[in-house]
Symmetry: C2
Subunit: 390 residues, 2 copies
């Protein structure tokens, strides 16, 4: 049995980034860049008007003949004389012969004649070519997480494909003769299976959609065959249940027989003590406790950092925030506790039912308070560490 | 022109929850419950063993004949006498004739004989029927946001469908003759269009996937026709560009001609001054500025709260957090500023380029500092309000 910190280190050490893949920018939300991106163009690609107004050559004149109109999107290489100006709009191409734009509010226009009332400085309201980004300049660095803004930025430079770390394919195995799918009749002695949908949703919430669910009866042979197939076809195998010491808990044996190396089994914590973490080549295996709340706690605290490492994230652990706890709390277990809790801007409340069997508390919790194994009591108003869950 | 707070109020007042729809629990992540859910079953549905061990009738005896084995998932109504016990596992059905489970670590077993070394209390290690949730009891209240834990909780009670507020269908209209899609050759005077993909990604990030993109040239007629069609087929219309006062900005006229009521136009802020918000029946229209960074700022600050209200969320605005700013800052504009910024646990840094035209700064920002219009200077180490963007 190991401590929480050691388990987290083993997970970080043993999880490797996924292979690099090239994907379309419009499908890249939440992926992590696997190589730096440089701009293929100048931005703006030409001298661009920053205003609706009139473009002219700065000099002696303040009256001009209006030669033509240049809308955004137009191109013009007509000769423009020093006593001529063009009507121009925000974002439009500033013709080579002129160098300044006056905003329309500072002009008087009569028919074809422009009078500038308030003369701007030379080059005013003209964005230089490449002013924002120069061709060849770094756009986004390696390891950048792709946000909506990053997608817009890449698109505005004409970039359509980028290299990112692939997302893992995850198999969810659920074991137990007692489990019946929701929607079916519940025979005596059985319960509804819920961990598969819960874990599938938790994966979806971090952008992992390539998931498959497998349900196995308590049989060593069947468990071994399904695990073998999952190790071939998926990057990560999440197993729910079958990992404690009961006579019918075949999972660990099936894993070892499939050549999975045990990296740890059992953590000094509550809930989620019987967590197994193993590896076969680059494939990771988490055997989570079968109790739903323990299973989800282990997913957030241990499986999620591994998945984020695979996806290329630099910050892989749940962020830690601190709040004042609004009750006393004793920890006589000698174990690290993860307490389902609700926090707001100021304080955090330990929620009532901490049972590992049920998800009612988890459904209303927005964080887990971490009480380290060597802390025996927490006094009201003391600051505690919380792992936010949203 | 109105102030930011007034604009936010108008948006909250004029956005209504979407119609209720019934969906499958496994597809419900991120939806909001439109009615309370009550449990159709007791949980556990039967008296359940909390341990691997032996079930027996608490009384005079401490030695028992082991009658049979009850695995998780088994049902047994065989008669069990007072001097008999059954081998039992965690989660298994506790037969009616027995009332207590002793954990296996507290027993000695020889062949068919059980000796209890450490006698537990009566009813120990037996979870009562309905102990966690009773049939008919409230499971999740109306307005609960469906998390992975909530999905697991609903599934474990055998619930397969729930009533939620539907998610809006959103049309993204992009206007401008100057725009060319990424991947195509860039003619002189044109720029790559990026707002559609950026807004689509920002919608996807909040779970809105029913989106369509429409690109329109600067023409009143075409703009009017496309807006008319979008008002019929979508719940929200996001328009990018064409809303400022330039001669070729037809959007506002096209909206009014389509019977859209103007709720506000122009906010005393930077960036994003020329924001239009309107309504036709329950359909909402946001005409966002065309500059990418302004457009995204307006999306996060104004369109997102409206979308969250539609989806049934109670907390619709971006949460506000506070950090100490690590530079002095002057606001001589008389406008509310939204500054792209990067914050960590302790401080916040105003990022260098605040240009509204480009997304480079937005790509690395994780929050927007709000400097109210009536605040003229912020001193280093002073606390400022940040809207986090992740």
């Amino acid at each position: 049995m190991i401590q929480v910190a050691e388990a987290l280190n083993l997970i970080a050490e043993n999880s490797c980034k996924m292979p690099i893949t090239k994907i379309k920018v419009d499908k890249s939300l939440g992926y992590v860049l696997a190589e730096a991106v440089y701009s293929p163009i100048n931005m703006p690609p030409f001298r661009q008007s920053a205003m609706d107004g009139y473009a002219f050559t700065h000099g002696e004149h303040n009256q001009f003949e209006i030669l033509k109109t240049v809308q955004a999107g137009d191109f013009s290489d007509d000769e423009i004389k020093e006593n001529q100006a063009v009507r121009i709009f925000t974002g439009a191409f500033v013709p080579d012969d002129v160098n300044t734009v006056v905003m329309q509010e500072h002009t008087i226009v009569k028919d074809n004649l422009l009078l500038i009332e308030k003369m701007p400085a030379t080059h005013a309201n003209v964005r230089a070519k490449g002013e924002q980004v120069k061709k060849g300049e770094l756009v986004l660095d390696k390891n950048t997480v792709i946000t909506p803004a990053a997608i817009g930025f890449l698109a505005c430079l004409g970039i359509t494909k980028i290299k990112v770390f692939d997302k893992p394919k995850v198999a969810i195995l659920v074991t137990g003769n007692e489990l019946v799918s929701a929607g079916k009749k519940l025979p005596k002695g059985k319960i509804y299976e819920s961990n598969s949908l819960m874990l599938e949703a938790a994966l979806k919430a971090v952008g992992i959609k390539k998931t498959s669910i497998f349900k196995i009866k308590d049989s060593l042979k069947k468990t071994k065959i399904v695990i073998e197939s999952c190790l071939s076809n998926f990057d990560v195998v999440l197993i729910s249940g079958g990992i404690s010491v009961g006579d019918y808990d075949y999972v660990k044996e099936a894993l070892l027989k499939n050549g999975v190396t045990e990296l740890f089994y059992k953590i000094n914590q509550k809930p989620g003590k019987p967590l197994f973490f193993g590896k076969k080549e680059n494939k990771l295996v988490f055997a989570l406790p079968g109790n739903p709340a323990s299973s989800l706690t282990c997913f957030y605290v241990y499986a999620l950092p591994a998945l984020k490492k695979l996806m290329g994230f630099e910050a892989i652990h749940l962020p830690e925030i601190k709040r004042k706890i609004n009750s006393d709390f004793e920890n006589t277990s000698g174990k690290t506790l993860f307490l389902k809790a609700f926090y707001d801007d100021e304080k955090v409340t330990v929620l009532e039912s901490q049972s590992s069997a049920m998800l009612n508390t988890f459904s209303t919790a927005n964080g887990l308070i971490v009480v380290p194994h060597d802390v025996t009591e927490v006094k009201m108003h003391q600051e505690v560490v919380i792992l936010p869950l949203n």
